[in-house]
């Protein structure tokens, strides 16, 4: 009974989505306002029923209703409540249902934010969104049905994959990832709408920018949360392994970041409209590619869902949307005529172009590395894996160049300027570059790419700080305001968007530094210790004090208590553990991390032997890793600030355009 209510909700949402798609495209073609209204209400109908279907599943999970096939598959009575809730996205069918739920929220907000100022782009965009929704509803109603009926209702279920129960990050990472992935549908629909209507109005461009900023912010956090999860859970001491699924989350982030920047050129100069639309479209297609990669079972990954029947269905969707997008671009892109010209020479325009090229190059590098095993297999019928060496060798120089452009670009003026002016802007930040370089050398860093990165980071940090505060400083000079007053007037006034961009840049510079240092300057040692024995690494002395046992309803944990001394100071003991989950044979480790601003002390128990009282311990000192998390928070704050500025500006642009239409 409960399962059939869920199925009913899914079918209803399929009905709303498909009927709304037809209504929206008909409204676009026939320019009929009544059909547009029908499409809008269908969108809300889809959003409501799909949200309810998600709520229904969560209720089923909480009530241990094993008559629902998905609950029988991943539920378990003994689970903590938070695990029950996050089980919604812990396995394939539920994750697609959750996708539908997130899509429902985005489509509702998207539909709400469109109005008459968007002109014919409004029904066109709603049509694309609902067509996407139709596909996912079909997937949920058919091949990935989570509300299947269970013939013999079991008394208890197995619970979700233990790796996913092992850390609370599993509750946070997927919602952010889905916010990023699913959210790309909204700018995608608007970009296709611009191509369909043959016009990219400032209103539509502004909405695309806003619609892109939201998933970009989610994705920024999600990519790093994925790394944080790997760092805190997998126990090998790193946060990024160029795993196909990690790459899948990075790819749309790269193109979306490029799109956010080229949109600025489109906005200021009226150029690169087709290019910006292509990047927006690519960001969406890459999210679908990522979904295919994680759910088709054709890639080996620690993050992957198991092989499933929905791979071919997703591929059909990916193929259809890709071809439709390419054809639409090919046939309609010339209608998006430029309104101005790019400035050539040493100007900020050029820096933006260089940045875009580098991001696209980065995207292709990662994409090729990820699918290369498939190419080799298709051509020669043999398997291979592309390891870290390829990715590091290819992406480190591109990353360093990006950092260089991030430093030089904002320092350059818009448009042409004299050689002296350029010198005056580009030379002073070199000082900070050399300061960063000297600090690195003092701390014993000798890896060439790390030194180059840190030099560029110093340069970019100077430029970012200087540019972020420039309007406030001008205010101080001309109005003799205090610094805080000037800054707050700028940020709470017209300067928010500009300031937000530099906040995001500051986060990016910090991330570059953290990645460069942590990936090349860590130290590690692995020892097997008997009770009472010690080992040292750097300033730390680690003593294996004994084994503790912790019983919980869903797991048993063996904990190695490790006494930690830094120099002569005794610190809190660390407790890396091995968890044995009920109904799972292999145990899973949880590393213990002492997080610090300078370095992390990372302990991972490879094995804990209760009989012999020994522990196999991996000890690592990972410098500056926590700055990567901090950097992400800074970038996300930049994203949220930009989003709020963009919402504010969006309203004024719309008002202006409406007024123009009324007047015209």
């Amino acid at each position: 009974m409960t399962a059939s209510i869920g199925r009913g909700l899914v079918l209803l949402s399929l009905l709303f989505a498909s009927a709304g798609t037809v209504a929206a495209f008909a409204a676009f073609l026939k320019k009929r306002a009544d059909l547009t209204r029908a499409a809008v209400w269908s969108a809300y109908g889809f959003a409501t029923t799909m949200t309810l279907a998600n709520v229904w599943m969560v209720i089923g999970l909480l009530r241990n209703d094993f008559s629902i096939s998905y609950v029988a598959q991943v539920g378990s009575i003994d689970l903590p409540t938070w695990v029950k809730v996050v089980s919604l996205w812990s396995s394939l069918e539920g994750s697609i249902l959750f996708w539908g739920g997130v899509l429902a929220i985005f489509i509702a907000i998207g539909t709400l934010s469109l109005n008459d100022a968007h002109g014919p782009a409004r029904p066109a965009a709603i049509g694309v969104w609902l067509a996407t929704a139709t596909f996912f509803c079909f997937l949920i109603a058919g091949p990935a049905q989570p509300f299947g009926a269970v013939a013999n209702v079991p008394l208890d279920g197995p619970g979700p994959n233990p790796l996913l129960q092992n850390h609370v990050l599993m509750a946070i990472h997927p919602p952010f990832l889905y916010g990023g992935y699913v959210g790309m549908t909204i700018p995608f629909g608007l970009a296709l709408a611009a191509l369909m209507t043959g016009r990219l109005s400032p209103t539509v461009l502004g909405t695309i920018r806003t619609a892109l900023l939201a998933p970009w912010t989610f994705l920024t956090v999600a990519v790093v949360l994925g790394g944080w999860w790997a760092y805190e859970v997998l126990g090998w001491g790193g946060y990024w392994a160029w795993d196909p699924v990690e790459n899948a989350s990075l790819l749309p982030w790269l193109t979306a970041t490029a799109a956010l920047h080229s949109a600025i050129l489109t906005e200021r100069r009226g150029v690169l409209k087709g290019w910006t639309m292509s990047l927006v479209i690519a960001s969406f297609l890459l999210t679908i590619l990522g979904t295919f990669m994680t759910r088709s079972g054709i890639f080996n990954s620690v993050h992957s869902f198991t092989q499933s029947a929905i791979g071919p269905t997703i591929l059909v969707f990916l193929g259809a949307t890709t071809l439709a997008s390419v054809l639409l671009l090919g046939f309609r892109v010339d209608l998006l005529r430029p309104d101005g010209e790019l400035d050539r020479g040493a100007s900020r325009d050029t820096a933006f172009l260089a940045q875009n090229m580098l991001f696209v190059l980065f995207t292709f590098t990662v994409l090729i590395g990820t699918v290369f095993p498939l190419i080799v297999e298709a051509v020669r019928n043999v398997q291979m894996s592309v390891g870290r060496p390829y990715f590091d060798r290819m992406t480190v120089p591109i990353g360093a160049l990006l950092l260089f452009v991030m430093g030089v670009g904002p320092a350059l003026p818009w448009g042409a300027s004299s050689r002296d002016e350029i010198k005056r802007r580009l030379l002073p930040p070199l000082g900070m570059g050399f300061v960063a370089l000297s600090i690195a050398l003092v701390f014993g860093i000798r890896t060439p790419w790390t030194l180059i990165t840190l030099f560029f980071a110093g340069y970019a940090a100077h430029v970012t700080l200087f540019e972020a505060l420039r309007p406030a400083r001008t205010r101080m000079k001309f109005r003799t305001d205090g610094f805080l007053k000037a800054l707050s007037q700028d940020i709470f006034g017209p300067g928010l968007r500009r300031f937000a961009a530099y906040v995001a840049h500051a986060g990016a510079v910090t991330a570059f530094i953290a990645i460069a240092v942590s990936s090349t300057s860590g130290r590690s040692v692995e020892r097997s210790l008997k009770q009472g024995e010690s080992t040292t690494l750097g300033a730390y002395t680690l003593t294996f004090e004994g084994i503790e046992r912790e019983e919980e309803a869903h797991r048993t944990s063996l904990i190695a208590r490790i006494g930690v001394k830094k120099g002569e100071t005794t610190l809190e003991p660390l407790r890396p553990m091995m968890n044995q989950y009920r109904s799972q044979r292999e145990s899973i480790g949880t590393p213990a991390v002492r997080t610090g601003l300078i370095e992390d002390l990372y302990l991972s128990a490879m094995n804990i032997d209760e009989d012999n009282q020994t522990v196999g311990l991996l000890v690592m000192i990972n410098p500056l890793v926590s700055w990567l998390w901090i950097a992400t928070v800074i970038m996300a704050i930049g994203g949220v600030m930009a989003l709020s500025s963009s919402l504010r500006v969006g309203r004024t642009v719309e008002a202006r355009e409406l007024q123009a239409e009324v007047v015209g």
Binding site: G297, I298, E526
Partner: protein, 171 residues
């Protein structure tokens, strides 16, 4: 119509879509090899810690598991515990590791850190990897007592798969 955009768009996306289509139904962990049911190549490999070497044919008469691995390979780290455990619980089978595109120094410190239950060998000039047709790591070959390759596994092994493959090699 912009023919250039159309041509570039199709040139980028069609091969990628075709590639994904070709690979549908692919199981990344199982693939046929032309070497299966053929005699294992009789390679000679140097001991990792220096001194001595191993001729593969000298192991005839017992099932052999040959695991190609590298320290930079995350799946190899994943499967290491399963392989080590299997080697300890199956004394009738000889396990051996072959280090693939990695330095001896890295491999030795990896083993010192993570423990080992069987010998690994250096394959400096890649002769063994070429003879076995290895294209990536981890790749594991199961050889029966007569010296015939009975199975091959690509990707990280888990306990169950290992158990099944070992039974096949024992027959």
């Amino acid at each position: 119509m912009n023919k250039g955009v159309l041509a570039v768009g199709l040139a980028v996306t069609l091969p990628l879509l075709g590639l994904l289509l070709l690979n549908l139904g692919r199981n990344p962990s199982a693939i046929a090899s032309p070497l299966i049911k053929k005699p294992a190549p009789d390679v000679r490999m140097k001991n990792l810690s220096g001194g001595g070497s191993l001729q593969l044919s000298s192991l005839r008469g017992q099932p052999v598991v040959v695991n190609f691995w590298a320290t930079w390979c995350i799946p190899c780290i994943q499967e290491h515990a399963a392989l080590t455990a299997a080697a300890r619980t199956n004394p009738d089978v000889t396990f051996l590791g072959v280090v693939y595109e990695d330095t001896t120094e890295n491999a030795l410190s990896f083993l010192a850190q993570r423990g080992s239950a069987y010998n690994s060998y250096a394959d400096d000039d890649g002769k063994a990897a070429i003879a076995f047709g290895v294209y990536g790591v981890p790749e594991t070959f199961f050889i029966d007592a007569a010296g015939t390759i009975v199975d091959k596994y690509v990707g990280p092994l888990d306990d169950d798969t290992l158990f099944a493959k070992l039974s096949a090699a024992r027959k």
